[in-house]
Amino acid sequence: MIKDLKKDIKGILIEGLTLTSALVIIAIVVVMVTVIVIGGKDQISWEFLTSFPEEGMTKGGIFPAIYGTALLVIIMSVAAVPFGTITAIYLTEYAKEESIIAKSIRFAVRTLAVIPSIIYGLFGLGFFIKFVGTQMDNAFLGGELKWGQPNILWASLTMSLLTLPVVIVSVEEALKTVPRDLRAASLALGATKWQTIWKVVIPGSISGIMTGTILAVSRGAGEVAPILFTGAAYYLATLPGSLSDQFMVLGYHIYVMATQSANVDQTLPIQFGTTLVLLALTFILNISAIVLRYRIRKKKTN
């Protein structure tokens, strides 16, 4: 009896310990969200979202940062989504699961996913700006400095490399949910492999491609390290008009306001407001991706 009781107590303790850990993690998330919502909610207004910073960024809004973030993720998606989708198609439709090529591509994708974001920043600087950009200047502009410096194009391309694995993984998962029978039926009707992919497989996995895009956008909107020295600017009086302009971005705005502005305490409400905007943006994107992915998985089990 006593031995059993001891066992029970031990069991309750251990289960309690694991439950506590789960609760602590949930509590951390809740506390972070609450603190940022409480700190930032009074700052959010239509004016804050649509006006420029004023008086050395101590007043005014964050419109250029929102605009820059939007532009960044759009250019990034245009580059990352097609390449990611094609890679995923190759991995699921063409490559043999056990072939060395497929294995090394998968390994490369996973490596891309774990490389620190700051390394992408260095790569963007060393490759896009110092190598490609300078070559372009030399070839087209006779050495005049235009592309060989940080700008929104290079920042977006750098970011697209970072988000490429996100797209690949989501699209691959969706492609696998398209039933084998559909493919076989299409092929049996005389369609070529490419026609089957284009007309049957891709339409069947469009929601997966969307999930991938949304997740990539959410990741791209929040990352700061890759664009620290590939195009983000502290303050700009005008919106970026061309691909060779620098731009403001929400995450970088938070960083500079919180660590490098002259009067951190005075601008605290703006910082919390900006953080809330960024957090809300990534939350909305993530939740829609979670819902979409949930639907895909449900479809798979049916």
Partner: protein, 364 residues
Amino acid sequence: MAEKIIKSVAFLCITIIVLIFFFVFRESVPIFASAKTHEHTEATASSPEVQETYGEVTDQSSAPLVQETYGEVTDQSSEVQETYGEVVDSTASKSADETYTVSAGSGYDENQSALNTLMSKDWYPVSEKPRYGLFAIILGTFKITIISILFAAPLAILAALYSASFAGKRTKEIIKPTIELLAGFPSVVIGFFALMVLATFLQDIFNYDTRLNSFVGGIAMGIAAIPIIFTIAEDALTAVPKTYNEASLALGASKWQTAFFVILPAATPGIFAAILLGIGRVFGETMIALMATGNAAQMGLNPFESVRTLAATIGAEMAEVVFGDTHYNVLFLIGSMLFIFTFVINAVAEFYVKGKLMKRIQGK
């Protein structure tokens, strides 16, 4: 035709990794090149002509020229390599000279360059006598990694065990999306939270002097690492075959005994991989390190002192550095180190786990 195009696009990922390695490493090569040219210099140093040439190179090492040189790299790589060496060399020799006068007797002589200061503990890249000692920074990075893994790994693994073994369907539907949301938190937001709220909160509890230190930074980075560790650990725990669970229960073991003594040990390789990838995440984390660690390169082991990490050093200094300068090359060298470290961690996690897990589950 379509297949060929698709295949070549798929190779892009591999190409990108090779390019990243090549271009990050390329920018750090001049440090090593300068050491070689130095020997050459000594041999011919007595000739005044050489000295003169060197002077010229130094004079022209202003930004526009260096940028032009960059563009030519592919066309005349060998020649540029040489120019590189010399440009860096002249600055490096200057630095070595000056360092010599300061720390006479500590083994410095004119032959030493930036390469030799790398192992020292002083990181003063922008002083008049620049020193690029990485020792304190590497120590700081490891210190903060250990703190954050000690915080995040037990929490995430126990929570994963709860989710995999004890939780009902309903609870799972709360835990997993919450973790996914946490994974979606931009690191700059976590950094901001740590800087504004967590730092003050922890200081009130523990009463230490420096508000921003490796403890605060470690906890904040731990928060960022929790989702990764949790997800991989949970995958490993649920991948343990159901028969293990059933056999254990049938033998009369209780639920917690099964979870703790059967399922957890069976999933050890996966959990090991989870911790490794968590380490990789923390090791390269930039924004949290920039915002919450105080960014002072100090040597001590006290967790309540400010530290500076490798990634934060790149993030903080790259924007202000002169392109092609030794400082610039050293920052890229740090980048190469980070890249190699995470690459190795990922490779170990991948191959070790696949091998071990397969063996265990198939019972060989």
